[in-house]
Symmetry: C2
Subunit: 288 residues, 2 copies
C-alpha cells in the first residue's frame, strides 16, 4: 500500500508486545502512513529497540494506556493474549477495534466472547509471516507483502471484519476469513507440526552424533532447511503449541501414522515406497 | 578450482547416469578443465540433454564403454549402483579409479568388496549437494563449492583415497573420510530423515484439508520449507531409503520417541515444553 493510504477508520493504533511480530506490524503500518502508532512491551528496553527500528512513534508506560487507542493490536504469545483479553477486555472502549496476531485462534475467540463487551469490535487475526529470529531484530515487514492474514470472527460483527480486512491490506497482506476451528486444524498440520518436527529432528540428529563426529561436516541444505525452525524462540513455540494443544496432539498422531506407513513401505521395497512417496506428495499438491 | 588445474591422475572420466547429480559433476569437472568427459545414460535423450548443458564431451552408446575410462563415476540411484558394481565390477580395468555418488554407503562398499577386483582403485563417494529437481535441468554445479564430499573406503587403498580426494577438490568440494557405518548412521538422521519427514508432513497436511479449503491460502514459509524435499524424485528417494533401510528404520524409531516426548511436554504445560524444545535445539547445536 502506498504511503498515505492508511485507512482512516483505523485511526490511532496501539500495539501491545514489541517482539518480532509487533515490530513487523508497527513498521509496516507506519510505512503505510499510520498517523499515530504507540507501543507497549513489559520490557521497556524491547519497546525502545522496536521504536528505534521504526515500529512506533512512542512507547507506553503501561498496558492500560493502550486501551485509549482506536485500534488495539495484541502481538503477544497466545497464552498472554488470552490473559490480556480476560484481564482487560471488560475495560476496552466501546467502538474501538481489537485484533491479535497469535497463531492459535480457538482460545482467542473464546476469550473475546467471554471477556470483551459486544460494543467493542474484536476479531482474531493471524498474519502468516515472520522469521525464526525472536525480538525486534527479527522483524522483516516485507514478509507481510502478499502474505495470508487470516481473520477468525468471534461473533457477527461487520465492523470488526471490515477493519480487520483494512488492517491486513494496510500491511500489504491478503485477508482471508476462516472459522477458528478450521484455522487451528490446518495450522496445527502446517505451521505447528513443522515446528514440532524441526525440534524433534534436531534432537534425533544431535543425539546420534558420537565422540569426535560433527554434524556440520556432513550436513547439506536439506537438513539445514528441515531444522531451521528449531532456532525459533522456544517460549514462543511452546506458547502456540500449548494454546492449540488438542489439534497439535491430533496432528502428531496423524504424523505417527504417516511414519508407520513409510516404514511399512520401506519394507515393501523400492517400488512400493516410491508409490507411497508420490501419493504423499500428490496429497499435498492436490490440497494447495 | 581454476580452469586447467584438473588433476592429471584422473585423466579420462566416464560418468554413468546423466541425471541431476551426474550432470552437476560433469559440468563441474569440465569447468575444472577435465580433458575428456564421456556420459552414459540408459535414456539417450537424458544423456543428450546433459551434454547440451555442458556435462560432457560425448555420450556413450552402452555402459560397457564407460569401463575404458581412467576414472569411472557412478551417478545412479543406490540400488542401480550396487547392481552395476555386481554386474560389471569383475570387468573393471586394473589401475582404473571407480567412485560413486550414492547417499547410502554400506551397500556400496560391500558391493565393491564383493565384486570389484583388488587391482581396481574403488571407493564410495557422496557429495552432499543437490536440489529437489530431478534430471539434468536440476543440476547446479555451484552447489558443489565448499560442500562436503564424503569418501567411504571399502578397503585399504591409498591410491583410491588420493584420487577420491583429488576428485572432490576438482569439484570445489571438501573431502571428508568416514566409515560407511558412521556415514549411514548420521545421514539416516540428517538427510534421509529430512526426506521422510517432508513426505509425511505433506501427507498429513494434505489429508487434513476439507472440501473448499486450500492450503496455499494459509501456508507460510515455515511449512513451505518443511515440505520442500517432498518435491524430490520419489524413485530416487525410495532408492536411498531402501538401500539404507536398517538405519532409516532406527532413525524413524528415534523420531517416534522424540515426538512422544514433545507430546508429553505439551501436556506438562508451556514452561516444561519450552525447556524440552530448548534442550532439543541445544542437542543439535552442540553436535554441529
Amino acid at each position: 500500500m502506498p504511503e498515505g493510504s492508511f485507512p482512516a477508520e483505523l485511526s490511532s493504533v496501539a500495539i501491545v508486545g514489541a517482539g518480532q511480530v509487533g515490530t513487523m506490524v508497527g513498521m509496516a503500518l507506519r510505512e503505510a502512513g499510520a498517523p499515530d502508532v504507540s507501543l507497549f512491551d513489559r520490557d521497556p528496553g524491547v519497546a525502545q529497540e522496536s521504536i528505534g527500528r521504526g515500529a512506533g512513534d512512542r512507547s507506553l508506560a503501561d498496558a492500560g494506556q493502550a486501551l485509549r487507542a482506536d485500534t488495539l493490536v495484541l502481538a503477544l504469545p497466545v497464552p498472554a493474549i488470552v490473559s490480556f483479553l480476560d484481564d482487560l477486555g471488560p475495560s476496552f472502549r466501546a467502538g474501538s477495534f481489537v485484533i491479535d496476531t497469535g497463531s492459535a485462534k480457538g482460545r482467542v475467540v473464546e476469550a473475546i466472547r467471554r471477556s470483551v463487551p459486544q460494543g467493542v469490535h474484536a476479531i482474531g487475526g493471524h498474519p502468516i509471516a515472520g522469521t525464526e529470529r525472536p525480538g525486534p531484530a527479527g522483524a522483516r515487514p516485507r514478509l507481510l507483502q502478499e502474505a495470508p492474514f487470516i481473520l477468525t470472527p468471534a461473533r457477527p460483527d461487520e465492523v470488526a471484519l471490515a477493519r480487520g480486512e483494512a488492517l491486513a491490506r494496510a500491511l500489504g497482506s491478503r485477508p482471508l476469513v476462516l472459522e477458528a476451528e478450521a484455522h487451528d486444524r490446518l495450522i496445527a498440520r502446517t505451521s505447528h507440526l513443522s515446528h514440532v518436527l524441526a525440534f524433534a529432528l534436531a534432537f534425533v540428529a544431535g543425539d546420534a552424533v558420537r565422540e569426535g563426529e560433527r554434524l556440520r561436516a556432513i550436513e547439506g541444505p536439506g537438513f539445514t532447511g528441515a531444522t531451521r525452525l528449531s532456532s525459533s524462540d522456544p517460549g514462543m513455540v511452546a506458547g502456540f503449541l500449548t494454546a492449540n494443544a488438542e489439534e497439535v496432539h491430533r496432528a502428531i498422531e496423524d504424523l505417527h501414522r504417516a511414519l508407520y506407513a513409510v516404514s511399512a513401505a520401506i519394507d515393501g521395497g523400492e517400488h512400493q515406497l516410491a508409490k507411497a512417496l508420490a501419493a504423499a506428495r500428490d496429497a499435498l499438491e492436490r490440497s494447495r
